[in-house]
């Protein structure tokens, strides 16, 4: 399956076969967050977070539950719009464009910034329809083109062999690990530049979680990945950068951000050290 060019999207990333991406050496920030705070009905969930996410790298967000990691993630692709009574202040630039700018089209933002949730939630449709629906909505309706993308993307997530003969069966008949990989495939089908993953493996058994983790590693370099995880070992294994959040006074704060080795081996903040060594949190 060679990479198929899309005529009308000149600078699009061609999906192409996925091979081990090169580690990101010259860090270019693709997401710049400037003192972002998030309030739910007046209560601050996230307090003045400033952070850069570098292109092609895996950034892990670690910290105890309830410290605003998921809220931070949903602010990037403006899912916070859906939550009533939620106020976002501060600035988020994706590819140097402010995502809150009035003429920023939310749908194209969310096409650029894909998201995978903790609980695998395929649509109650067939496997094929799950993948073709977002593509049709974003204008890719040509049958062969859609079929090609579906085949390509299912192979990327390693699901093709298991489902290629029952693409029209209901997606709900798949197992937990398969469903999560289908959700990832669904996000990848839109060729996002950035992939936000909210504890993708926590609902899965170790085997399925291992498969998903290998997949994430293979995406490195090709995609910028921001992953929220409780699994410090996983973060240590796959992440280039890590950001440590902590709850202080009922609001989540970014304590420390840096290269993964730095955070895990020689954290400069004693809170990070305590958390990373499993003493507190």
């Amino acid at each position: 399956m060679n990479a198929n060019q899309y005529a009308d999207k000149p600078d699009a990333f061609t999906l192409g076969p996925l091979e081990e991406g090169s580690a990101c050496c010259d860090p270019q920030p693709v997401i710049q967050v400037r003192n972002l705070s998030l309030l739910y009905d007046g209560k601050t969930a996230l307090d003045k977070v400033t952070l850069d996410i570098y292109k092609g790298c895996i950034t892990a967000l670690i910290g105890p539950s309830g410290c605003g990691k998921t809220s931070f993630l949903s602010a990037i692709n403006r899912l916070t719009d859906l939550i009533p009574g939620c106020r976002v202040t501060g600035e988020i630039l994706v590819n140097n464009r402010d995502i809150h700018h009035p003429d920023m089209h939310v749908q194209s933002l969310r096409r650029q910034v894909g998201m995978v949730f903790q609980k695998p939630t395929p649509f109650p449709l067939s496997i094929r329809r799950n993948l073709s629906l977002p593509l049709n909505e974003h204008g890719i309706t040509n049958k062969t083109e859609v079929a090609a993308i579906i085949g390509q993307v299912l192979r990327d997530v390693g699901l093709w062999d298991e489902v290629h003969d029952r693409l029209d069966a209901s997606a709900l008949s798949l197992s937990g690990g398969q469903q999560q990989r289908l959700c990832i495939a669904r996000a990848l089908a839109l060729e996002p530049q950035i992939l936000l993953m909210d504890e993708p493996c926590s609902a899965l058994d170790p085997l399925a979680s291992g498969v998903v983790e290998d997949l994430i590693c293979r995406l490195r370099g090709r995609y910028t990945i921001v992953i929220v995880t409780h699994n410090l070992a996983q973060a240590r294994r796959i992440a280039n950068y890590a950001a440590f959040f902590w709850v202080s006074g009922r609001a989540g704060q970014l304590i420390e951000f840096g290269r993964c080795q730095h955070i895990f081996e020689s954290p400069s903040h004693e809170l990070t050290a305590a958390y990373v060594n499993g003493v507190r949190g």
């Binding site: 859906l82 939550i83 501060g90």
Partner: protein, 313 residues
Amino acid sequence: MQRRQPGMAISGLLRNEQTLMSLTNNRLVAKTGMPKIFRFLLANLFFLVIGIGCFSQAQAQTKAASQRLVLTGSSTLAPLAGEIARRFESLHPGVRIDVQTGGSSRGIHDVRKGIAAIGLVSRALKPDEADLQAFTIAQDGVSIIVHAGNPVITLSREQIADIYTGRITRWNVAGGTDARITVVNKAEGRSTLELFLDYLQLKNSEIKPHVIIGDNAQGIKTVIGNPHAIGYVSIGAAEYEARRGAPVRLLSLGGVEASVENVRQGIFPLSRPLNLVTSGEPQGLARQFIEFARSAQVHDLIRTQYFVPVNAD
């Protein structure tokens, strides 16, 4: 940069992205807590309703097994029968008269089956109903009605027959404006229809109606709503509405003015008896009620319903 938009007034017809779906709150389970007093109020209401149920049950048992009389039959006669029953009950405490409706044939059916003591029939008895005894308590004329704005004053019997069989289709032929006539006919089986057919010597299959109605008030409202309609209803109802200013006019029939007065004097050709029907000789309470219904004490009630009291013997 403060992101939150001011409250989305519906005046801005198109919702912007910000309150795109307010997903969770639309299916909001209204989180309004139940104030204490409200729960108290609700509990009270519940017991009140239960209370009414038991109270009415208890009351039924204590009252002596009162004498009960059931009348069923024609809907035209039911309001009058109801009023007569009320007055009869006030004169004879402890008696319960229940008037039910469902049409003349239901009255006859119930009387034969013994479900009802007296049947209300708004027509003369047919030959095959000879086993029943009819007691006429009032007369009711049937008159042709047109919209008040219709210039036509009178119609001969032939003209009416031609209109109803579709031989005349426009008003100008009968002296009105040049407009299509809307023929309003009654449903099969109704006593006014039978009376009307006998008068015009027609069979119902010959009539080409545009609208078919059930009760009188529906006929009147159809004619009021359509300036080119022609229909026929009981005089009482039509005269009542005309007097209250409704745009409906009663046409005279064969030169005789359509009025309750003329029916009383028996000179109006188209009228029908309103009968109380029993199977065999009425006894006891039924006999008392029939005599009361035929006595002069109820003539005022009959007049208020715009029927014509029979100057009974």
